[in-house]
């Protein structure tokens, strides 16, 4: 491992200044970065530890009812925060799928995003909830939808010297629900062959007024499934509709074949998992919908 300078800023301003150095890397939980450094897959001359910056390690319930999660907040803290568990259960459940207990006690939601793995379990539920990422850099701050941060496997759209500082979940829409499902050969400590999140909003007449479907592990980045979303709009939530949305989502997916599964297998999993995630949303509304 290349030698590096370890820095421990206590404000975002200090962290941005530290990130200005050549070959600087932000460190949150380290569960991806430390093995990448040790195995020579990433280089760093400066390691900037973000865990001593209060804003980046806190979960804040916002006045509008939304929740802001500091980028260095651990998956374990996300999974047990009362406001996240109550209003964003799909986000809390997703956080509990990242590694085992030991990893969840270190890995951060911000790191799960910035590592930019197509399979990141933390991401699809955030996309479905319309999460925004807050970014700070030498030229000030900006924000964008979480899905806009992914460029390619292992690469984000953050400019040099920029940091993800927080993830902001907008207030939950009335009469809405979200869920995340993934498929792994082993129940825990495994990487999703496919992950699928769904979010539905129902009108007073029981018809779907808004829908989002997000997929992991079926494209170079996490993606939305627009054909599936369009199909759901204005419809009554039934098993047949959910299965049809799953089939359309499989057409939105662009999976590859690798050691975890073939492209055909992944497409089939998308069909099944999207339908089941939609059925999970139904369960959160209080009705049972049978899907395959």
């Amino acid at each position: 491992m290349q030698d590096f300078i370890y820095e421990r800023p206590t404000t975002i301003g200090e962290a941005i200044a530290a990130m200005h150095a050549d070959d600087a890397r932000a460190l949150a939980g380290g569960t991806d970065l430390v093995p990448q450094l040790r195995e020579g897959r990433r280089r760093a001359a400066h390691i900037v530890d973000l865990k001593h910056i209060p804003q980046m390690t806190e979960v804040t319930v916002l006045p509008d009812g939304g929740v802001q999660i500091g980028a260095a907040v651990t998956a374990a803290a996300v999974a047990r925060h009362p406001a996240i568990v109550a209003d964003f259960p799909a986000v809390a459940e997703s956080a509990q799928l990242i590694g085992g207990v030991q990893v969840q006690n270190r890995a951060s939601l911000g790191g799960n995003i910035c590592n930019a793995a197509p399979s990141a379990d933390g991401v699809p539920a955030l996309i479905c909830h319309g999460a925004q990422v807050l970014i700070a850099g030498p030229d000030g701050t900006r924000e964008m939808p979480v899905e806009a941060i992914f460029a390619a496997p292992g690469r984000t759209t953050l400019a040099a010297g920029e940091l993800l500082t927080a993830i902001r979940l907008p207030p939950v829409a009335p009469n809405s629900a979200a869920a995340y499902r993934r498929f792994t050969p082993r129940r825990e400590m495994d990487i999703a062959i496919v992950g699928a999140a769904a979010w539905l909003r129902l009108g007073a007449d029981g018809l779907i007024t808004d829908a989002r479907v997000a997929l992991a592990s079926v494209a170079p980045t996490p993606i939305r499934a627009p054909a599936a979303e369009k199909k759901l709009l204005g419809e009554r939530p039934t098993g047949g509709l959910f299965e049809e949305a799953g089939r359309l989502a499989a057409q939105d997916a662009r999976p590859i074949s690798d050691t975890r599964g073939s492209a055909v297998y992944r497409a089939t999993l998308v069909t099944v998992l999207v339908a089941r995630a939609l059925a999970d949303c139904g369960r959160r509304f209080g009705f049972e919908v049978a899907v395959a």
Partner: protein, 160 residues
């Protein structure tokens, strides 16, 4: 780069000369001679290097030694008092929950963290708590039984 780290290991303040590139696992094994913490995969998959940081189980191989100042670390050497086995260690002996023994220190600490937070876990909760600890000998059944025995009847009734 050499760096002097002040850390709390098993309740004792230590001043350790380390390298910035050391992981917590390197610090424990190579700088402090606490070799009860094992290195398996070295990348966070196997859990053999599990220690407690401020009471929470973590993989020592995924933490830089430089991150440790200000934190309290408990290793397997810190769980037994005056040479007496911790009840979890005793239960693992009695239930045959250890064969080659390489995963055992990590299992003990993962289970200790669970029971410290939840003294009467269900079998499902026990299995979830040790999901990050690989064992290639026992098939886990005897490990789960041992933890359940320490936890009391709740989990034992469920597994019957």
């Amino acid at each position: 780069m050499k760096v002097l780290l002040n850390c709390t290991i098993n309740g004792e303040e230590q001043s350790v000369l380390a390298d910035t590139r050391d992981t917590l696992l390197d610090l424990l094994r190579d700088r402090l001679g606490l070799t009860g913490t094992k290195e398996g995969c070295g990348n966070g998959n196997c859990g053999t290097c599990t220690v407690l940081m401020d009471g929470a189980p973590i993989n020592a191989c995924l933490v830089l030694a430089a991150e440790v100042p200000g934190r309290s670390i408990t290793t397997i050497e810190g769980v037994s008092a005056d040479g007496a086995l911790h009840p979890l260690q005793q239960a693992l002996v009695e239930h045959g929950g250890t064969q080659c023994g390489f995963c055992t220190p990590g299992i003990v600490l993962a289970a200790k963290a669970l029971l410290d937070e939840n003294p009467r876990p269900s079998e499902t909760q026990i299995r979830h708590a040790i999901a990050g600890n690989l064992c290639r000998c026992t098939g886990y059944g005897k490990i789960v039984e041992a933890i359940a025995a320490v936890a009391g009847s709740a989990a034992q009734e469920e597994s019957r």
